[in-house]
């Protein structure tokens, strides 16, 4: 449905407009309810976008094609994108519980809003029912179209408000910059300072100064949950990503006992107490024989 068709349908006051109105009205109310009722913020944002788009159609149906397009571009395009950016920064999965914490807030709010809605609908509905719209055909034609008409008004009668609003926009942009800006109180750390800091921390607390070992290094498997082995054969918990550390606690313990056995064996071999060839290094499930891991050694 192109814009001209909507405009044409609207200006006739035909059933076309009826159809447009009811479709968009229902969709926009659904969007509004979705905004309020969604637990996840992202869903709320998407529902808002739905309402905005439907309202754009309704603007166009109301002889306001320019505003309809501005609605799509500014609201759905810019403003909602800004919301989504902020959502991304805050955390997409941020959601709040729907349990009300303020005593009586929900009840009073619903009662007051019901009263408010009834008041608005009753007064406006009764006042407007049966009135006929003058329509904007004449007003639009005076300057050759809706955009021209608006432009004429904005740059003549409403020039001063327009300038003020422009100033407001710039101020708002500056304000956002100032608010988002974080002052740097200390000089930026260069590489030398960072490395010195790292070594200091190591000296004081023993924190590992270098890059963390990758999981699975020298271990029997390279799964991400398998801790790396340090040169002395002990497993390094640091090599395991934090989320997996807790889960793999049991596996880590198992690995540790196994490795201890391995280390003992290797030492014994080195000291000549044991033959170079162990019968089996692994008994634990899911772990391969050393021979399987290093097949070329078989030939020894």
């Amino acid at each position: 449905m192109s814009m001209s068709v909507i405009v044409a349908a609207a200006s006739e006051g035909s059933t076309g407009e009826q159809f447009t109105f009811w479709t968009c009205a229902i969709l926009s109310v659904i969007g509004a309810l979705g905004l309020v009722l969604s637990r996840k913020t992202v869903h709320s944002a998407l529902f808002t976008a739905l309402t905005m788009l439907n309202l754009a159609v309704l603007y166009i149906a109301n002889d306001a094609p320019f505003l309809g397009l501005v609605q799509v571009i500014v609201y759905t395009g810019a403003v909602m994108m800004l919301f989504l950016f902020v959502l991304m920064l805050v955390g997409v999965d941020s959601s709040d519980s729907l349990i009300e914490t303020l005593k009586g807030q929900r009840l009073i709010a619903v009662l007051l809003l019901a009263g408010f809605a009834v008041l608005l609908i009753l007064t406006l509905g009764t006042a407007l029912t049966g009135t006929q719209s003058v329509g904007l055909v004449a007003a639009n034609e005076e300057f050759g179209g809706n955009v021209q008409g608006l432009a004429h008004l904005m740059f003549t009668t409403y020039l001063l408000p327009l300038e003020v609003v422009a100033a407001l926009l710039i101020t708002a942009a500056l304000g956002a910059l100032v608010l988002a800006h974080r002052d740097r109180w200390t000089p930026k750390l260069d590489q030398e300072a960072l490395s010195r800091l790292r070594m200091e921390r190591y000296a004081e607390t023993g924190a590992h100064p270098g890059p963390l070992p990758n999981p699975g290094v020298l271990a029997t498997s390279n799964a991400i949950g398998t801790p790396a082995l340090l040169p002395d054969g002990s497993p390094s918990e640091l090599s395991v990503p934090p989320p997996l550390r807790g889960e793999s606690r049991s596996r880590l313990a198992a690995e540790t006992t196994e490795i201890d056995a391995d280390v003992t064996e290797v030492r014994e071999i080195a000291e000549g107490k044991e033959t170079m060839r162990p019968k089996a290094l692994r008994d634990v499930d899911g772990h391969t024989d050393l021979a399987e891991v290093y097949p070329e050694e078989k030939g020894d």
């Binding site: 969604s38 505003l67 800004l82």
Partner: protein
């Protein structure tokens, strides 16, 4: 078409927006609800413009959009600032002006 239908839709949207403002705690959702209320008002303006055959209602709606855009910019920046210090976007958290 009868303008009352648009106006009643506008009233309903406004009320739902107000419900969002009053009952949701996530600042971003509250903000979007405010935008919903502004849009409902805009719909009323546009409808009135058509009803009276006068473009000024549309001009006002336009101004509302601009101001809303400015408000969103600043408001979201504020939300970000609060989030940075409190790690939360609940509007119930910053209640230091209590009592």
């Amino acid at each position: 078409m009868d303008p009352s239908a648009y106006i009643i839709l506008s009233a309903i949207l406004f009320t739902i927006g107000a419900i969002g403002v009053l009952l949701r705690r996530n600042a971003i959702v509250v903000f979007m609800s405010v935008e919903m209320m502004l849009n409902a008002a805009n719909l009323a303006f546009v409808t009135f413009a058509r009803m009276h055959g006068n473009l000024e209602g549309q001009v006002i709606a336009f101004f509302v959009m601009i101001v809303a855009a400015a408000e969103v910019v600043v408001g979201l920046a504020i939300i970000m600032t609060i989030f940075r210090t409190r790690r939360s976007v609940s509007i119930d958290d910053p209640s230091l002006m209590r009592n």
